[in-house]
């Protein structure tokens, strides 16, 4: 039996003629795939951006006013509990001190605002992805807009990291570039899928 095409004559992303076994219009294949990927990545990215916001808040709130980090305190029982050596314990303080030292004055505020925007848009991308899977008429436009917005957030983060110190660059650049590429692909996928569905509807 030939598999049924699910991206044939379509009413926006939903096929007019086919229904899924649970009832209701079945979404186009591209919309189901892209939507599911968007939901999974959106859940993870919401967490990542929220964690970045937390990072900036924690670093700013606890940074010593004179920029000099206090000495590490490494009690034996805590080292054992966390599986750390004394050298690692001391490095944790140096590491955080390096992050604070390497950040220009504008960096924490900018990244906090950017990660707040990223958290909101990433959450919206979950909604857009779910709408794609659900075959909602507005879903492709919403998906293209949210994925594009996420790409813009990634690009802004990339530019910010480029203009920060070397310690922050090595932390942020590759990750930001990877997310930027993923979101560009998803944006183009949503746009291409939208055009495909429109063409199929017109045919």
């Amino acid at each position: 039996m030939t598999p049924r095409r699910t991206d044939g004559p379509a009413r926006n992303v939903a096929s007019q003629s086919s229904t899924d076994p649970a009832g209701g219009a079945r979404s186009a294949a591209w919309a189901s795939w892209l939507g599911a990927v968007a939901v999974i990545l959106g859940v993870f990215l919401t967490a990542v951006h929220a964690n970045e916001l937390l990072k900036q808040v924690v670093l700013v709130r606890n940074a010593p006013p004179d920029g000099r980090m206090p000495a590490a305190v490494c009690p034996e029982e805590e080292l054992e509990e966390e599986g750390l050596t004394a050298a690692e314990c001391e490095h944790m303080v140096t590491n955080v001190g390096g992050l604070i030292l390497s950040a220009p004055a504008w960096f924490a505020g900018f990244m906090a605002a950017l990660s707040l925007a990223g958290t909101i848009v990433a959450f919206l991308s979950i909604v857009a992805g779910a709408a794609l899977v659900g075959g909602r008429a507005w879903a492709p436009v919403a998906a293209a807009a949210t994925f594009g917005a996420l790409a813009a957030v990634d690009a802004a983060g990339f530019v910010a990291a480029v203009n920060a110190g070397p310690i922050l660059r090595q932390l942020y650049l590759a990750e930001r570039l990877l997310w930027l590429l993923i979101h560009l692909m998803m944006t183009l996928g949503a746009i291409a899928g939208m055009r495909f569905s429109r063409a199929a509807r017109a045919a």
């Binding site: 076994p21 189901s32 859940v43 967490a47 924690v58 606890n62 590490a72 966390e82 303080v93 659900g134």
Partner: protein, 179 residues
């Protein structure tokens, strides 16, 4: 009559729980690299309180999800959507996820209870100390917390893999949780 998909409340809680779990993982990996606490080094204070608060809230959200799921049962997944062993795997994976979420949250809270670090629920309600400080008990529950968390990540990966499989088949199963 059973709904075709899960109830909107169940859908919203499910995705909030998903975001919460991933945030707890990502933030915990980061916060464990922060300096050990002292009078002058307080970097861990906010993330640890937030971690404990989200864990406790997650338990409440899970209880609400189970209540809603029991009250509003969706129609069974389409028969042609998966083979019998897949149905069994999915059912077992769901149960494991619920059990592990409870185990991770409870062991985390108990671990914290045996330390000198108290928990203030959302910075409003001071939770009572259930136990005296005890390093051995703290270590025990801390280990349980750690390993149940890794196990939870593994079963969530199976859950996500199953969802993607059905989404790529476009067989209507995933739509039930995305309405």
């Amino acid at each position: 009559m059973a709904r075709q998909g899960y109830s909107p409340t169940a859908v919203v809680i499910h995705w909030l729980i998903a975001v919460c779990i991933f945030f707890l993982f990502v933030s915990s990996w980061w916060m464990m690299g922060l300096p050990l606490p002292s009078d002058e080094l307080t970097f861990r204070e906010l993330p640890f309180q937030l971690h404990k608060n989200l864990g406790i809230t997650l338990l409440a959200a899970l209880a609400l999800l189970l209540y809603v799921r029991l009250r509003h049962r969706p129609a069974p997944a389409p028969d042609r959507a998966a083979r019998p062993w897949m149905h069994r795997l999915a059912a077992a994976d769901h149960v494991l996820i619920y059990v592990l979420i409870v185990a991770v949250c409870v062991s985390g809270y108990l671990s914290s209870s045996y330390t000198r670090w108290g928990t203030t629920l959302w910075w409003l309600v001071e939770l009572p100390d259930w136990a005296d400080e005890d390093e051995a008990m703290n270590m025990l529950f801390s280990d349980i917390h750690l390993w149940t968390a890794w196990a939870l990540l593994a079963v969530v990966a199976v859950h996500v893999g199953g969802a993607l499989y059905h989404a790529f088949r476009n067989d209507g199963v995933v739509r039930r949780m995305l309405r």
